[in-house]
Symmetry: C2
Subunit: 337 residues, 2 copies
């Protein structure tokens, strides 16, 4: 039995979800993978919880939920970059929210981790969308793994599925419903004949939409994810600025009603070949017609034909499933050494 | 560069599709996997094409299409069991159609291959549904791989996806639209308001339904596939005889119309927890509402939540994608040795 140590950078929704899932699956990882997986550090913006023998996950989650993280006995003033460098660990989980303009602080975290000889698993779209070649190149040069399943489609394991099981297929095109918030709004407008404003307000009240939902509504978030899929699955080298983006701002209940009358829905679709994110008419019985916050990703391949995956595009625990799948992928490689 | 030799047992639709795909992807396998994949034998019911250096795929496909296989210079009278034993090869592809009552000739082929130290990839449902424990146990004992992705859902890589990328999830239930013929018929009846007989006749004319479509219509085929999913993904030990099966024989256009009026469709659904195959009402915007010959498989998991895969459940080339994915999986293991 080997011990594997993780550093969790970023302690928001996904960071907490990941700790919960690690606690839930600790025994399973031990029995099935043969690894005692411990968390050596959890980094917040102003300091870190550090314990070389493995933090007590219960106590950290409890301290966080009562807003008393700094009173935890393992609290140190070491910030994330320092912790990534000095704490002894095998894998860094970079789970901070990304600034899509700069990619920071994710880019610095990932580079520091790789330079210090640590594998990286990230749920942070921005660094992967902005610096795909540079970061994957650095990982390769260092003989380390950089995994990013959680950046697109939440719990939908599309990137790993292609790499592990569909690699023989040439992917001709990718279409996706990649933003749960806008899909929730469109579904609500379509099914209940309410305005975009009303649907958005409800989404915010339910915690589905953020206070500033601009990137969800205007299509930017979909474009960023589309670029990650294009680069990692189709070997493209595009940036999200290359994508023509039109959001759902101007969709009206009238246009949805007209679509319905003819057997269609309107969905915000990302299309790699068209280099476009835009609202499109989709037949009601089409696999991309998914409702609520669900995401859907369709690959069109030379042998397998079309394959669509539908699942949860977000969610604390659901997204952690992809983070953990990436961790396990790295564990499997470590086992073979 | 290593040479890997295959024996293809069964030269029907899937056998031919597999040869076509191997021809198409030969160079790709060389460049990406580092293996020169050759076919050392193709076994038909009354003899085999054998060539230790690798058969000429073009000439064999050509001879088959003109019905002159026996005139091919590499034709031998050796039947499948003999060929599996004596021909030097690494992997046996068991692609015969299975007799769901006896599981033969697939069971004998698979056992012989494993006993002779050859890995097995199969598209044959019957042996896997009837003798799952025995056959996977034998493979394990021999240190060999037995892969069967193509037995369920054609090109949908559900079994490998779970094993490689969702293993950390406990699967609570599996639902599936697993039979393309019955789904085509139901879709036709629903959309065009035609009788089951009319829809079936059209499916037969299009080559979608077989001359004797009993197992598709009465739910047996769905039950067999459901059992394979239950045993391989949920660790159950059930036989298809344990499943309560009701087919689509009694579905009328009236019932479909009534469903439509209330926003539903009727689909033939396999349900592991209910141990049941039966026609069920599904909301039109539900991920399991897939049209035509498409298949859909939905997993309900403790962390990732629900994940649905929609794709081609059959097809000469599409099914070969799963066969080849299994071959590549074995190649990857061979590379590590």
């Amino acid at each position: 039995m080997k011990t594997v140590k993780l550093i969790v950078v970023g302690f928001g929704t996904i960071g907490k979800g990941t700790l919960e899932v690690l606690r839930m699956k600790h025994r399973d990882l031990l029995e099935k993978q043969g690894f005692d997986v411990r968390v050596a550090a959890v980094c917040e913006i102003d300091g870190s919880i550090v314990n070389d023998k493995g933090i007590n996950i219960d106590s950290v989650l409890k301290a966080a939920s009562s807003g008393k993280l700094k009173e935890h006995p393992d609290w140190k003033n070491a910030k994330s970059l320092e912790a990534i460098e000095v704490v002894d660990a095998d894998i860094v989980l970079e789970l901070t929210p990304g600034d899509i303009k700069t990619g920071e602080p994710g880019i610095s975290h990932i580079k520091k981790a790789l330079e210090c000889g640590k594998h990286v698993v990230t749920s942070n779209k921005a660094p992967i969308a902005l610096r795909f070649q540079e970061l994957t190149g650095l990982a390769k040069k260092k003989g380390l793994k950089l995994r990013y399943e959680a950046t697109v489609g939440g719990a939908i394991p599309i990137i790993n599925l292609y790499r592990d099981n569909l690699e023989v297929n040439e992917v001709r095109s990718i279409y996706g419903i990649l933003n749960g918030t806008s899909n929730y709004i469109l579904t609500k407008m379509f099914e209940e004949d309410v305005s975009l404003q009303t649907a958005l307000k409800e989404a915010q009240e339910l915690g589905i939409a953020e206070r500033d939902p601009s990137y969800d509504i205007d299509g930017t978030d979909t474009a960023v994810k589309l670029v990650i899929l294009a680069n990692s699955i189709m070997g493209k080298r595009i940036s999200y600025k290359d994508i023509n983006v039109r959001g759902i701002q101007e969709i009206t209940t009238e246009s949805l009603e007209l679509a319905k009358k003819h057997g269609y829905v309107i969905k915000l679709v990302g299309d790699v070949n068209g280099m476009e994110v835009s609202p499109r008419l989709i037949p009601v019985n089409h696999p991309l017609n998914v409702s609520g916050t669900l995401n859907a990703i369709m690959l069109d391949m030379d042998i397998a034909g079309t394959l669509t995956l539908v699942g949860h595009g977000a969610g604390k625990i659901q997204t952690a499933s992809s983070v953990l799948a990436d961790v396990i992928d790295i564990l499997k490689d470590m086992k073979e050494l």
